[in-house]
């Protein structure tokens, strides 16, 4: 199973840092308030470990899903904590009333804001990948789903039948209005694509591939 060595992980950390910085700038401009994003974790995870990374198979999560294509094809999933979803949407599109509703119900505007957040984060990370390792990945339209972690993964893995058994993970802490929320970005490449990605990391760094 291919993996990233320390140098490649450093490069991925750089991608995460630059992507998070760019996304924070875009989000601050869009919302007119200060939004910070700090990198908290970068790793490569086997797909059967993703559910635990998200808090367990039956944990409830909100996820924005985007198909990706170009030098790498596959799917990007951006996860937000469902128990903080109202704080998150309030940051993006402030509610008129003071109290957030207690139900899962989100307005169309709030759902659209979450899709946009997923899109901005994805665009920023994919942009940083292009800048650092010259690999071009485009993304399609974002879709928002709130469900059990395993059900989301199950549906995505089915559509990506020829998937790689690994996901590239970039976790950041989003900070706004004294709230801290964890966002988890996962790139799930189709067969062949991950190898391509690893080679691109190696070539850029002038190191021999280890895949």
């Amino acid at each position: 199973m291919p993996s990233l060595n320390e140098f490649q992980l450093d490069a991925l950390r750089e991608v995460g840092n630059v992507g998070a910085g760019n996304a924070a700038t875009a989000l601050s401009q869009l919302t007119g308030q200060r939004i910070d994003l700090s990198l908290s974790k970068v790793c490569v995870l086997p797909t059967d470990a993703i559910a635990d990374f998200l808090g367990g198979s039956d944990s409830s999560v909100a996820s924005v899903c985007l198909p990706v294509y170009g030098d790498v094809t596959g799917v990007v999933l951006v996860f937000f904590p469902l128990d903080q979803i109202h704080e998150l949407t309030h940051t993006l599109v402030p509610r008129a009333g003071a109290a957030a509703p207690t139900t899962e119900g989100l307005s169309d505007i709030e759902k659209s804001a979450l899709r946009e957040l997923g899109s901005i984060l994805t665009g920023a990370y994919l942009g940083a990948l292009f800048r650092f390792i010259h690999i071009q990945i485009l993304h399609g339209l974002p879709e928002l789903v709130m469900d059990m972690a395993q059900a989301i993964l199950d549906s995505v893995l089915v559509e990506l039948e020829e998937k790689e058994d690994l996901a590239i993970v970039i976790e950041t802490q989003l900070m706004a209005q004294n709230q801290k929320m964890t966002t988890k970005f996962l790139l799930l490449p189709e067969a062949g694509s991950l190898d391509h990605l690893f080679k691109a990391f190696s070539n850029t760094l002038g190191l021999p591939g280890n895949g």
Binding site: D58, E143, M148, S155, E159
Partner: protein, 161 residues
């Protein structure tokens, strides 16, 4: 006492006897196929991903496909002492959660369900219950005492099929 709940992961299949139970956590577009022998209280659960083994590309796994998973379940239940004519089937799952990802005109969840129904019909196993489709994932627990399935969804009260 001593009963065990067996978790059936994606593309897996398992059989068990009362008082044990069988579970699948987070069925999205996958379909859970249960086969039950009410007299012997034996049952099996398959967590299928794709409609047909003809779609197999690398590393063939019988539990992954509707046709081969049902055949394998029938075979394992026969070994437990339950012949095919003693069995009843239920189907749960096959949601359509991501519309943008769907690469076929007919969503995979629906194709999984259709393929499972066809296979059951070919084997003359009666289909006695189904809870399919929708946009939400399901967690199921198949009780081998009475063959009922407890179904949990995020925005729907828990119920028994």
């Amino acid at each position: 006492m001593g009963e065990k709940d067996w978790a059936v992961g994606i593309a897996e299949l398992k059989v068990a006897r009362f008082p044990d139970s069988l579970s699948a956590i987070g069925l999205g577009s996958c379909v859970g196929v249960t086969l039950y022998d009410p007299a012997a209280k034996n049952g099996g659960l398959a967590h299928i991903m794709l409609p047909s083994s003809a779609l197999s590309t690398r590393g063939f796994i019988p539990g992954k496909f509707a046709d081969t998973a049902i055949e394998a379940l029938v075979g394992e239940l026969r070994l437990l002492g339950s012949p095919p004519e003693a069995l009843q089937a239920k189907l749960v799952g096959g949601a359509n959660m991501f519309k943008a990802l769907v690469s076929h005109s007919v969503p995979i969840g629906l194709r999984n369900a259709t393929a499972a129904r066809e296979k059951l019909k070919a084997l003359s196993i009666p289909l006695v219950g189904e809870d399919l489709g929708g946009e939400s994932g399901r967690t199921i627990q198949f009780s081998l005492g009475d063959g009922r399935i407890k179904i949990k969804q995020l925005n729907r009260p828990e119920f028994w099929l």
